[in-house]
């Protein structure tokens, strides 16, 4: 049982942030890590990226979008209530080395996961530019948190209600043109976004990392549900990733595999949303 210390609706009824008392996980959590959780004894196991961790306070932060049965149940839990099972930190940490200038791109709930990675880069002394995007201003997350350690936070909204009008890739294109020294790009968000970032940086030869939101069951390398094709070979996102070289990832296959349980998910949850996005 893992206690919820703080709960905040970042976007009312849609995106929720939980701060959990999980000292053992907090002590080990590095950017890129995730947890698997289960809300009740009949519940499924779902992965959520660790958006932030505080080893001293013994806490981890999770941010999730209410998209399905489990996230809806999770959204109902209040402060001082507990989550049945939280297992982690899982996965390989994002490789973070001092490289100079990096750009972290986040879309939708992926911004939260990207936040932890951006912070890691800032901590090793890299100059970090964050580019975050959403459909509209009210769906943006973590802008303020990111601005605390990023040199610059560029906002892109589809409707132009905040920042530049357009996609994060438009903003990225402009930024890279003006900053030829960027050594690495990190992309966390929906598959089409990550694919577009990869296509943009490929001809420029900029090393790019994508954090893949594959379907998972155990999160420990035991089922293969999370298999993704990277550089033509099958890798398991939970134990080999979730971060991979974005230029080698087969995004078409990832997008196809994410559809596996869409119809059942509707049956279980009465789906309000066709997108399958992981925080």
């Amino acid at each position: 049982m893992t206690l919820i210390l703080r709960r905040r609706e970042i976007i009312a009824g849609q995106t929720i942030e939980l701060v959990l008392h999980a000292p053992a996980i907090a002590a080990k959590a590095r950017p890129g890590h995730f947890v698997i959780l289960r809300v009740h004894p009949e519940g499924e196991r779902i992965p959520l990226t660790i958006a932030d961790a505080d080893a001293q306070a013994g806490t981890i932060t999770l941010v999730f979008l209410v998209v399905g049965t489990t996230t809806a149940l999770l959204a109902r839990l209040q402060e001082q209530e507990a989550i049945l099972d939280v297992c982690g930190p899982l996965g390989q940490p994002t490789p973070i080395r001092p490289v100079g200038e990096v750009v972290c791109v986040g879309g939708g709930t992926g911004i939260a996961a990207m936040h932890h990675i951006a912070k890691g880069h800032a901590q090793v002394g890299n100059r970090v530019t964050a580019i975050i995007g959403a459909r509209t201003a009210s769906l943006l997350l973590f802008e303020e948190e990111l601005s605390r350690f990023c040199e610059k936070v560029i906002v892109a909204t589809d409707d132009g209600s905040r920042g530049v009008r357009g996609l994060v890739t438009d903003a990225l294109r402009g930024h890279l043109a003006a900053h030829p020294g960027v050594a690495e790009v990190i992309a966390v968000g929906p598959v089409p976004m990550m694919r577009a970032v990869a296509e943009l940086t490929r001809p420029l030869g900029i090393s790019t990392v994508a954090s893949l939101n594959a379907i998972m069951v155990d999160g420990m390398g035991m089922c293969g549900a999370c298999r993704v094709r990277v550089g033509g070979v099958i890798r398991f996102a939970c134990v080999d990733g979730p971060d991979f070289d974005a230029h080698a990832v087969d995004f078409d296959e990832l997008a196809a595999r994410l559809r596996a349980f869409v119809s059942q998910e509707r049956q279980s949850y009465g789906c309000r949303c066709a997108c399958h996005e992981r925080a």
Binding site: E42, G43, C87, R229, I234
Partner: protein, 476 residues
């Protein structure tokens, strides 16, 4: 003839007492146990078939050397408690072994009656003894007594990593000697393959739960959701006060075929399929939240217990047709003989001498499995005739394919522990007599050492390592 077989010809050999079972057409629609277990009368009748040989050979056939003759003698006198005590001397999970051991390759093959084709049904008797004992009052009082008379050694703490049969056995052995044992399990439920792999209709979860409850009462602490190598480092456990560590993390990494189309929706590893159904109870979807892959024409690739379990599970979940595809012939299938027999009775088809070459699909979903016909060639190193390709292929229509061709070592702990020496196959290298790894006071056993094997071998390894640990820590 051996002097140990007294007057076998003189005494008329009665056939084995048949095991009461759910009829195939009934059981293929439910998840309750297939074999219902002997009654006391049936058990005694079967026990009487034992010749009580002077030089019994059955014991040598059992990997943990259960004194079969000894426990059967108690059973002849209806002394279940006595029989249980004999079994429990060397076997920590008798209710499990009685159900899942490949007896036809072990104790029953070694039985002197084996040449008649009707060896004593040792496995069924073992199951009867364990089930009957666990349901009895004697059991409850024995547990209470064990708790009182053991001498807890607060200073002797031992960690077991993983909660499959190897770790459970090591934990039980050490706890009984008073050690403070903590079992770290990555999943949310304890039992390893016994809960996530082997289905309810073969090994009810309540049996595993009983065994685990016994360990709890002995003082074993279980920490679920703890992944050693991630949540805590292996060598860190020593800083936390553990004086020895047993690693029993199993061979849970599913292997894929590496053929085209393997990422199509509808293609699953047997581990994923079985984990969804067993651990996550997806068969009760949507009451349970985990969704389940649905298939009308299911194909299962492989010939071991894993493949049989997946096939029989798919049948119970409403598949119209389930076909097992195997590269060799039925005679070479590595599964328990009984599983194949049960599967065939339930209406599962086995297509022999077919090797998968590609998955075919439409719009990202599986629609067929292309297979190549094989012929049997010369025997290979394992003595089984090697399948050789013929070049002829055909396509089996299928909307759900489950791959059960084998597993590799679970990678998480291994990658996180650089000092741990592995063998050429990637499993942990141990001293065969002590079970010790290249890191002092870290022991390992079960599938993570041998590769996918059996419950009873994993138990044997757990016991061997536990005995060594107990000696080193001065518990015996």
């Amino acid at each position: 003839m051996d002097a140990g077989v007294p007057a076998m010809s003189a005494r008329k050999l009665r056939p084995r007492v048949p095991m009461p079972m759910q009829p195939p057409l009934v059981r293929r629609g439910n998840f309750t146990e297939v074999a219902l277990g002997y009654s006391l009368e049936q058990a005694v009748a079967e026990a009487r078939r034992c010749l009580q040989c002077k030089k019994p050979t059955c014991q040598g056939g059992c990997p943990v050397e259960v004194d079969c003759k000894g426990f059967i003698a108690h059973l002849v006198h209806r002394d279940v408690e006595g029989a249980f005590a004999v079994i429990k001397r060397t076997n920590s999970l008798p209710a499990v072994c009685g159900r899942v051991c490949p007896q036809e390759k072990q104790c029953e093959r070694a039985c002197k009656l084996a040449p008649t084709g009707e060896p004593v049904a040792i496995g069924r008797l073992e199951r009867f003894v364990a089930d009957t004992y666990y349901a009895s009052d004697a059991c409850a009082s024995a547990i209470a007594a064990a708790k009182q008379c053991r001498l807890p050694r607060e200073d002797v703490r031992v960690a077991c990593v993983g909660s499959g049969p190897s770790s459970l056995t090591a934990a039980g052995f050490l706890a009984a000697l008073g050690a403070q044992v903590t079992v770290f399990e990555g999943l949310h439920e304890v039992g390893g393959v016994l809960v996530y792999g082997i289905p309810e209709f073969r090994l009810p979860k309540s049996i595993v739960a009983t065994e685990v409850e016994h360990l709890r009462r002995l003082g074993v602490e279980f920490r679920t959701n703890w992944v050693v190598g991630q949540t805590v480092g292996l060598t860190e456990l020593f800083h936390q006060g553990y004086r020895a560590v047993f690693v029993g993390t199993g061979a849970g990494l599913p292997q894929f075929l590496g053929i085209p189309g393997e990422s199509l929706l509808g293609v699953y590893s047997a581990n994923e399929y079985l984990t969804r159904v067993n651990l996550m109870r997806a068969y009760a979807f949507p009451r349970y939240d985990t969704p389940l892959p649905q298939g009308r024409y299911v194909t299962v690739i492989g010939g071991g217990n894993v493949a049989m379990d997946a096939a029989r599970t798919a049948l119970r979940l409403g598949a119209q047709e389930v076909t097992v595809v195997y590269r060799r012939t039925q005679a070479e299938m590595p599964c328990r003989a009984e599983e194949l027999e049960h599967a065939l009775e339930e209406g599962i088809r086995v297509r022999e001498l077919l090797a998968p070459v590609a998955f075919e699909g439409q719009d990202g979903w599986l629609s067929g499995l292309r297979v190549e016909r094989m012929a049997l060639g010369e025997p290979d190193e394992s003595g089984r005739r090697r399948p050789v390709p013929t070049g002829e292929t055909e396509v089996l229509a299928t909307d759900l394919c489950i791959i059960g061709i084998g597993t590799g070592p679970n990678p998480v702990l291994l990658r996180a522990t650089p000092g741990l020496r592995l063998n050429a196959r990637g499993y942990i290298d141990v001293d065969p007599t002590t079970g010790e790894t290249s890191i002092p006071m870290v022991f390992a056993g079960g599938d993570i050492v041998t590769g996918a094997a059996t419950v009873v071998l994993a138990m044997g390894a757990g016991r061997r390592a536990a005995r060594e640990i107990a000696q080193r820590l001065g518990l015996i």
